[in-house]
Amino acid sequence: MIPELGNFSLILALLLALTQGTLPIIGAARGNLSWIALARPVVQGQFVFLAIAFGCLAYSFVNNDFSVMNVARNSNSELPAHYRFAASWGSHEGSLLLWVFMLAGWSVAVSVFSRHLPDEMVARVLGVMGMVSVGFIMFMLITSNPFDRLLPAAFEGSDLNPLLQDFGMVIHPPMLYMGYVGFSVAFAFAIAALISGQMDAAWARWSRPWTTVAWVFLTIGIMLGSWWAYYELGWGGWWFWDPVENASFLPWMVGTALVHSLAVTEKRGSFKSWTLLLAISAFSLSLLGTFLVRSGVLTSVHAFATDPSRGIFILGFLVIVIGSSLLLFAWRAPKIGLGGKFDLVSRESMLLANNLLLVVAAGSVLLGTLYPLLMDSLDLGKISVGPPYFEAVFVPLMTPAIFLMGLGPLSRWKQASLPELVMRLRWAFGVSMATALLMPLVMGEWKPMVSFGLLLAFWVIATIFVSIRHRLQNSGQGSVFTRLARQSRSYYSMHLAHFGIAIFIIGVTLVNGYETEKDVRMEIGSTVEMGGYTFRFTGASPVTGPNYSAMRGDIEVLHNGEKIRVMQPEKRTYNASGMTMTEPAIDTGFIRDLYVALGEPLEDGAWVVRVYHKPFVDWIWFGCLLMAFGGMLAVSDRRYRLKINTKPIEAATEEKDGGRAPSGNRLATGGKKG
């Protein structure tokens, strides 16, 4: 009964999405006010029905309804309840439902926080989002219904893939999807601008916070995925250039370019058609990622079970959505024009160069990801493209981008003076160079690549200092603190995000340069030394988990002769599937991680044990968090609140419920509810 209710809600949601995708847009074109006014209530209705559908699926999972095919394949009665809930989005069908549910959430957020926008604009934006929703709900109902029954019911489910039985599964996919789906807002704004032919600074100001929030979610989502891979897979790596990782990284890179391009469009009115193209591309790449994961054209550890009819459907959907957007772009963008002019040396030109570098980098990653497919379709053999390609292409492209990242914030808009920049930055360059040369010696060994990576990181940090100092000198009277307080949040948000990049680079550089790894045979009582730590193996004993049995090793860690902790890596065997999983033990520290994983058992209680010492590895994820915080700070900037305050009636209601809460924050929480 409950699954049928879910199915029925899904059909109702489809009908509402159809209405949302057609009437408001037509109404906006014809000036039919009642059709325009339809947009908001229909969006909210669709959200309610999708919430019911999602609730029904989650209910079936939590209550072990193995008469539902999806539940029987992806859950098990022994699975702990929070994983049963997370298993709702563990399969292809369920994750699609999560996708549209979040799309509806974002649409509701737009409908609620858009009171200051012209109604025709809102109608067009929501209409475009409705059309996207139609495609996805139809995809589900036609090829991948999460509520399909399995009759007669299975006694027991086949269990969720043990790799997914982790807290990461509970939060990583929702965050990532919030990011993917969030770019649909920027996309819808872009299409609305192309349809109406209007694109001005106000348009950029409206789309900017939405884009930034989506970017923040995507950043956190990718970070969580990377961290999860690190502590769950037991290989000690944090990024594998797997096709599906790339599928999330592509929209991130283009989204980063979009965030910067929007800034130029808002402040200077330039880059107009470029911004539109990036907005279309960021969302198109999110859709492409969906296609790659679900159509079976690429092999990946993430790929869902595949079925050719699904592939054809998504490809058709891609052609309609992306093809028509790009056609619309080719037709209307020449009217919108390029916007203001600027000199060769100016902040605009540096942002443009950075944008191009990001897009070229995204293009290279896309090429590497699709290369096996290209070769195979031209009948040139089956090959796979690995990390060496991606590193060889990505690092040289990002190096000038990082260099420009330091220059940009210090250059003037429209026209900057090169000699003045050189004067101002010579100290920053000297200091970062000297630190980069000396720092590796402190770490114990001088390596050119480490020095180079650190140079980039310190360059970013040094230029942030120079920029803030310069800004303060030009901010009038008062103490340093009053002058610091005078700067806008968006100014600090930029530096915070850039500082995050620097921290990220430091983490990547040092862990690649100095990590050590040992695969050793450990008898009971034997020790191994690494990075100034002594690991002593004291044996392994059986333990029983809720749905697995495991061998748990006990490894004492000694530092300077003192025991600092006991690490307990596990080797688990899951009851339902018989799959074995390595559960490493990690001791996290500010400047290093100790990472221990159990390999194979040997005779007499001895084990093969893998031990890693990973300096500064957590800085990688900490850097990503700083970038995300930077984004959140940006959307909380005062000028988005001012925008609302221009309409006194709404401002009054805002004051009541939110106090002085900045609009951007409410935007973000509104999105999270979705």
């Binding site: 299975a154 159509s295 490809l315 020449p334």
Partner: protein
């Protein structure tokens, strides 16, 4: 105008490749075992655990080796076809009960029918490693000389039976 069409042109090329890609099957890496002698195993039978079946006993006849497990939902899709095939008596089907518990496996066969001449157990998946099993179900066609002639990854379907497996068996038996 022309340069604004470039993104669309690039997208059309991409779609062309993706469309071709849909028809390809990257997972069907040609099994290196096809055309090679099937790995020999000796393993306890599912129904009579004290008796050992050796795959050498099957020399001289064409047979199917079907990898299955009670925890495998896809196995239920192909199972009615296997039951029918075994009733027809065209070819003996041997089961490799992969990473399973005997009591669950027996209960499963009791419920859905037992198409297997003999099922052998592979609780640790050791035989599976020799055969390069990377998903359940998988089905191998093995000829009279004990050489693997075909490997079906995923459930056997009516289509794969009629187009590939049955004609191949006929040819090998002939």
């Amino acid at each position: 105008m022309m340069r604004f069409l470039l993104p669309l042109a690039a997208f059309i090329v991409l779609v062309g490749f993706l469309a071709v890609g849909l028809g390809l099957k990257p997972r069907e890496i040609p099994s290196p075992l096809v055309g090679k002698p099937a790995p020999v195993f000796q393993s306890p039978r599912l129904h009579e655990p004290d008796q050992i079946l050796s795959s050498k006993d099957n020399l001289g006849k064409v047979w199917l080796l079907n990898v299955w497990a009670s925890w495998c939902v896809s196995c239920r899709e192909e199972h009615p076809l296997l039951v029918e095939l075994s009733k027809s008596g065209i070819v003996p089907i041997y089961g490799l009960n992969y990473k399973d518990k005997p009591e669950l496996a027996l209960q499963w066969l009791g419920q859905y029918g037992d198409p297997y001449t003999v099922s052998v157990v592979d609780p640790e998946g050791r035989i599976g490693i020799d055969y390069g099993v990377y998903g359940v179900p998988e089905t191998y066609v093995i000829d009279k000389d004990g050489v693997i002639r075909h490997k079906q990854i995923g459930p056997v379907t009516i289509e794969s039976l009629e187009k590939k497996i049955l004609p191949l068996i006929k040819e090998l038996q002939g």
